[in-house]
């Protein structure tokens, strides 16, 4: 419980840090989505129910801060509905968090490669889903090299932050006595033997 409280507090802190992360012009205006990376890292370290709670909390704060009610042209004719409804990020975090729970056993064995890669993939999938929904509302799909660069680099930068966040979470877990890894299995599956 202490560990869960601490990572929740860390996620709040990450929202404030996110404000200081600039958009990188030289990288096709991509940015590091630190909140996404932190959530996916947290999702891989906690059980499913707690992941859902974190998905709701993180998604809600993200929407409260970043959601823009931009209406598609058709929206004006009937009852106006924003292209991305408020709460869509909560849904995405819940969905992608469930996917990332799939690599939790690997993480618990002490292997970080696949979870880190999956954090990048989940960030990418989340951004692409948002783009698809926007495109659906606007009635046509446009794919350009520039767009792909932006999506890929955003995912890559978020993925690069993942090992550092996972390291921090491991330290927090050790400090609070929360068992992330299954020590018994570690020896059996570790590439380096009993180095864990």
């Amino acid at each position: 419980m202490i560990y869960f409280t601490l990572i929740s507090a860390f996620l709040v802190l990450v929202f404030f840090i996110q404000e200081f992360i600039p958009v990188l012009e030289w990288a096709y205006h991509s940015r590091m989505l630190l909140v996404h990376a932190a959530f996916f890292c947290a999702a891989v370290t906690v059980p499913y129910p707690l992941m859902l709670a974190l998905a709701f909390f993180t998604g809600f704060v993200w929407e409260a801060r970043y959601h823009l009610p931009i209406y598609s042209a058709e929206g004006y004719t009937g009852s106006p509905q924003p292209e991305l409804p408020f709460g869509f990020t909560i849904f995405l975090f819940g969905l992608l968090g469930s996917f990332i729970q799939g690599v939790r056993p690997v993480f618990r064995r002490g292997r970080w490669e696949l979870p880190v890669f999956m954090i990048g993939v989940c960030t990418l999938v989340g951004i692409v889903i948002e783009y698809l929904v926007i495109s659906f509302h606007r009635g046509g799909f446009i794919w350009t090299a520039e767009l792909w660069f932006m999506i890929l680099m955003t995912s890559l930068f978020s993925m690069l932050a993942a090992p550092f966040i996972l390291l921090l979470f491991s330290k927090l877990a050790k400090w609070t006595g929360y068992k992330i890894r299954m020590e018994g299995i570690t020896k059996k599956y570790s590439f380096y033997g009993n180095t864990f």
């Binding site: 200081f20 600039p22 409260a64 823009l68 931009i70 948002e130 794919w143």
Partner: protein
Amino acid sequence: MSRINIAFLVAFVGALVWIFLLSPNSLDRIQRGALSTFRPTIEASTELEEAIENFGDQKYTKTDLRKMLTDAELQRDKLQLEVLKLDELLEENNALRSALNYVKNAPLKLVPAQVIARKPSTWYNTLIIDKGALDKIETDSPVIVPVGDYAGLVGKVSEVRNDNTAVIILLTDEMCQVSARIEGTADQGIIAGQRGSLKIQPNLSLPLEFAPELKDAFQAQPDLLLKYLPKIAASTKDRNIISSGAGDLFPENLLLGKVIDFKLGAIDAEAIVKPAVDFSKLKNVFVVLPEKSKEELEKEGKQESSSDSEVPQVSNSSVETTQVSSRE
């Protein structure tokens, strides 16, 4: 799946449905609260960004600053005199217009604002400014900056978040569409950003001599596209694109960009336009206030409707009296 997992999943879905069903007023309150919480951080991050951008710039001495202040005051006095002269000209112009039964021109009511956050969204080209409902800023108010001798269009107010915060959607966004024409011609169209080029083109000089076929892939999409032009307009390259004023949302003659190329379609032409405003360096902008606020317009609308509703009553009564009189 264990029972506790299913219970949490059901609770999660229920909470999600509840969020989706929240009323716009509740969402507005939530977002206002969040923005108020994050506002100091947003401002601090902008200050930090500016400090990093200006790092190593020449520091001014007190004497330099005093001289700059004197120059600025002189400039202000000169501009004030010019504005007085322009007001006289406007009055004269309006007098002539009324003589010809034309619609009168009105000076733009501007509210200066400072940009406090750039591109806060992944998918929308937006800015956040430090002015809001307190300064009578309304949704869809145009936002401009001076560009040479012109007023350049930045975008429009997408949302007034609270008393001192508003979100601006930039001209480079697909959702900010402006009725425009080619300066010096009557060719009109609709200008907007392109979804494929959601962001401003990065200033890259990639050494791709070894693979020239990749150059197109690295070439960013043009920022603005002026659609629905007549084919005959294709001979007007390097012309300025200005707002046409059609639709009454944007005042006319705001500079939007310059034509750099044309694409001919089956029945019409499209102009590729380089924006006039450098969106990456915006610090101060001006919001154009409407001549009449929405409240005033609503009041006028109500008065008109009430006067309209009175007219048939009068006519009915007059009909009734005539009927009565005829019976008599």
